[in-house]
Symmetry: D2
Subunit: 337 residues, 4 copies
Amino acid sequence: MTLNIGVIGTGMIGQTHIRCITQALSGAAIAAVSDANRDLAKEVANDLPDAEVFDAGQELIESDHVDAVIVTSWGSTHEEFVLASIAAGKPVFCEKPLATEAAACRRIIDAEVAHGSRLVQVGFMRRYDVAYRVLKTVVDSGEIGAPLIYYSGHRNPEVPGSYTREMAIVDTAVHDFDMARWLLGEELVGIRVLPAKRNSRGGELLDPLLMILESESGVLVNVETSVNIAYGYDIRGEVVGETGTASLADRNLVDIRSAGARSGRIPADWRERFVGAFDTELQEWIDAIASGVAPTGPNSWDGYAATVVCDAGVESLAAGDRVAIALGTKPALYDSH
Amino acid sequence: MTLNIGVIGTGMIGQTHIRCITQALSGAAIAAVSDANRDLAKEVANDLPDAEVFDAGQELIESDHVDAVIVTSWGSTHEEFVLASIAAGKPVFCEKPLATEAAACRRIIDAEVAHGSRLVQVGFMRRYDVAYRVLKTVVDSGEIGAPLIYYSGHRNPEVPGSYTREMAIVDTAVHDFDMARWLLGEELVGIRVLPAKRNSRGGELLDPLLMILESESGVLVNVETSVNIAYGYDIRGEVVGETGTASLADRNLVDIRSAGARSGRIPADWRERFVGAFDTELQEWIDAIASGVAPTGPNSWDGYAATVVCDAGVESLAAGDRVAIALGTKPALYDSH
Amino acid sequence: MTLNIGVIGTGMIGQTHIRCITQALSGAAIAAVSDANRDLAKEVANDLPDAEVFDAGQELIESDHVDAVIVTSWGSTHEEFVLASIAAGKPVFCEKPLATEAAACRRIIDAEVAHGSRLVQVGFMRRYDVAYRVLKTVVDSGEIGAPLIYYSGHRNPEVPGSYTREMAIVDTAVHDFDMARWLLGEELVGIRVLPAKRNSRGGELLDPLLMILESESGVLVNVETSVNIAYGYDIRGEVVGETGTASLADRNLVDIRSAGARSGRIPADWRERFVGAFDTELQEWIDAIASGVAPTGPNSWDGYAATVVCDAGVESLAAGDRVAIALGTKPALYDSH
Amino acid sequence: MTLNIGVIGTGMIGQTHIRCITQALSGAAIAAVSDANRDLAKEVANDLPDAEVFDAGQELIESDHVDAVIVTSWGSTHEEFVLASIAAGKPVFCEKPLATEAAACRRIIDAEVAHGSRLVQVGFMRRYDVAYRVLKTVVDSGEIGAPLIYYSGHRNPEVPGSYTREMAIVDTAVHDFDMARWLLGEELVGIRVLPAKRNSRGGELLDPLLMILESESGVLVNVETSVNIAYGYDIRGEVVGETGTASLADRNLVDIRSAGARSGRIPADWRERFVGAFDTELQEWIDAIASGVAPTGPNSWDGYAATVVCDAGVESLAAGDRVAIALGTKPALYDSH
């Protein structure tokens, strides 16, 4: 039985998911597409013989031929399409951010709670990366004792000119925040953003940044974003526990000995680093819906929490001081992991 | 358009391929199954609503509902089913060995040559492993100069009691032979099998073995098989070139620092190590057939060459001396890679 | 020509230096020893046929048979013996701290400036570690661009019960502070000490600690002290530059593959990790004095700066806030490195 | 008490030992030098105020001011000076080879046995390398089970034009042979030398070579010599045991992340790789003599065995076949290690 998926937003990331579903994954097909740019939607649909093109995302969501929705439109439209999917009672996979403002995330949570079961998954794909999964297994096993510090390094070779000062927090570090919450199984309660000496490659950007966050139990989370570091796309992570540490290993597949050095490749970009995570993320989402099992992926609460932490981070950067993070009460719907 | 596949042989490896095609890959479905043990075939088909059960592999091959055939029956039956597939003009994926005797492999080659185009792919899945592919890319790039020596270490934690003296060559080292031919782009012309001091864990088995082979141009291929080494499933490879070397890197995803040591996991078995290669192997086979492109995977000649090298290895082990490897003329059908 | 050395303080570290000089190094001999515990001094002298025992450090310093002085007595006595050595015009090697208070360090600086040439070296042995030296060479070469962040991890398996809250700063992190100043070639201007979740192995100790310091040019220095981490003595360092990073490599000499893992040893304690650095530190000190070349090792200013940073750190820990570091003017005597 | 050493042969390696003893080691002085080129000996002695220059090695050995002898003259003169040292009852450290012919080595053994105690140490410095020592400790501990295969890779970036075909065996691989005997605690009984495809950088040299040796108990020793491999001086070693393996780790001190790769330095030459081993070798030799303890370093039997293995290797290279190694009976004098 094939899951019929409708995709709202056929830009780069939407096309990536479509290609993934049609060419690499099992159990799903693209039944409908929609985009603010109707010509683009049509063009994408040309390669998808069974896909209907809708003028409006709302119509796509309500179509009888659509079992589940993927939202890959601009962030500012996420709230509308996710709420519509909940109203239609259909599972919806929404790329991050769940919504651009905390209040909007809250509205999604309220709607989902009113619906009574989880329908929303947010695209924090790192939770599906094989290395992060092993890291979490090691941490949960107690092998290194209780976690006390978590280092999370997020290095990009470069960013486009449109990248603004806040994006190192809301676009880049947001992944590190979600990893911290997921690995530690705790909420974050405070953040302090500290600009380092400015990388001259990044013009006026405050880059790199150190961010020191605290979890409920006092674990310190030490995030570094370096978004103009030239050498590659390098994702680092180390959990320091009471008796040991666990860290993401280097991922080169081949060691080369040449010209006085032993060397291994570093990924060029996030695609190379996380291609497998995107595949697994969507396949598990498809399988969960097909089997009627409740989804275990990042949910609306996770999307909301990430947005609140980002907001606090942006405030800390402006204020030059620590900012407390207040999430409010978590509905019981999101209790079990 | 879905490729309808018939599977002959529904034992462990056949079931693995079926699961892979139905649950992880895109573009194909299981349309038919068959097994010498009809009850097993029926049981497997229970989970496959669209699969017909055939009493005989021959009938399965001829069925109009079968576009392509996978042969995962006992090695001694491979020749019959591959020849029947060629006669039916259908693509066939055959697990190694292509056939248990060189003469049988030759008959398959003759049939395929008579047919006029390649239909057969042999299951040397290492060619689809991401690390081996990077290794080949590095070697082909000239970055380390012309290859002079190739080390290939093949270590199994243990083997079943039914494992015989010759299996270290025909079942285990056969993969290393194929890798050597593929990485070097040359045939092997001689082999010398040297038993090391016997591992007491392996009873009367001659284990480990060193095998020294030469390629046409004089490259030495140094294969080690250790099939009772307890510590894990460890696949090693290093190409020594004129100005550098390239080797398979260690593959641990997470480094753990604990109890006085930094450590990384070694795979437990071939499944853990090569799961991704199996997926890629089948997906590329499906995609090639669907697109009508000539398959680029290991072909009948590769299957034949592997069998001839294994025969020479078994002879060398018995004789205690170097044995020459004579392949004869390669038909033009197999020229282009 | 042998350099005759007098050692004040024959406790553990004093004995280590004596053993090193007599059994491993070239060009020096122990001519005199002294200790507050005269019996201990005598006992140590028993193995040193040419060493005279002095009741008072002052007398030892003034002895005609002593060319140079090593001060390894309790920290609170360092000022007295270093000042006396300067007064006698003799080179003096003083274990850290140079003095326990900044004002005392200032008095030493004043005396040395009045003397007109450098006589004092402080025992920051990490500057002599081969790995740190390569790290500095890489940083200075510009290969990774201008440094922007420096991570310095200092992990001890355990500390004695007498270890107090402040010692993680003044005894442990002091080495990291000196490394930061030396690697960056800049002074530190601010410090913020952040306790992480408490390691239950350390009782009431605030352990681990994160310390975020800034250099004059804005480089962030990120120090972690974990002093009860059980797994080993692990010294980590990474300089993040504009286009790359350089980090201390793991130092295992042998990789072991066993029981499902590849592992390498981590040093058990500072002795194992830095034994070579202690040798090099003393040999270069001896060689410099013997050759009449001005010493290039850590000087009084370095000792003073370390003490001021430590004071600021202790204040930050108590205040829970950032504390500025003010060194005042550096005398020209310490300009050239 | 200082050990007075006389050095016969003041060429490059002799000067290195002299510098090491006078500038880095403890407990010894150079009391005498001698060289076939008297002018060179005089020049070297200029920097050694206490060293007497002798016209003949024989006179140096007999001088009352010489306690122990170091022989670093041409290999063909070793026998004469070692025999003279034994006749004088003085400890003698002889660089490899002990003698260029097995019969000469036998004469030295006979003289030493007649003398009744060990006086001779041969300069196989790898036994003093910290990494090889850890490797031996791991092997001896039983942690990886009984050794079954030993890989020994010996890679030089380049060799001078004077390097002959046999030197890959007698000058290069001789170190690997000694390591194999020492690590395994067994004699070698056979050797097979197999030239690989010729490295075009080495002209007519047969390079690289694979050599497969067997030990008494059947362990296979797999030596690779690559003497024109350009990328660096790379010494590899892996002992394959019944349940695990132990291998020399890479020795880079600093990891650099730059330009898409993580890389670590490989030593440029044997000096960089083994400088510490040379220091330890001489310091332990000096200490042993000074303390009157019987020396535990490589002895005359080790020197003889190495020469016999080399002879067999040269014969195998010429014959293209396996050659048996026959050492004869080992005198009891060399029993204890």
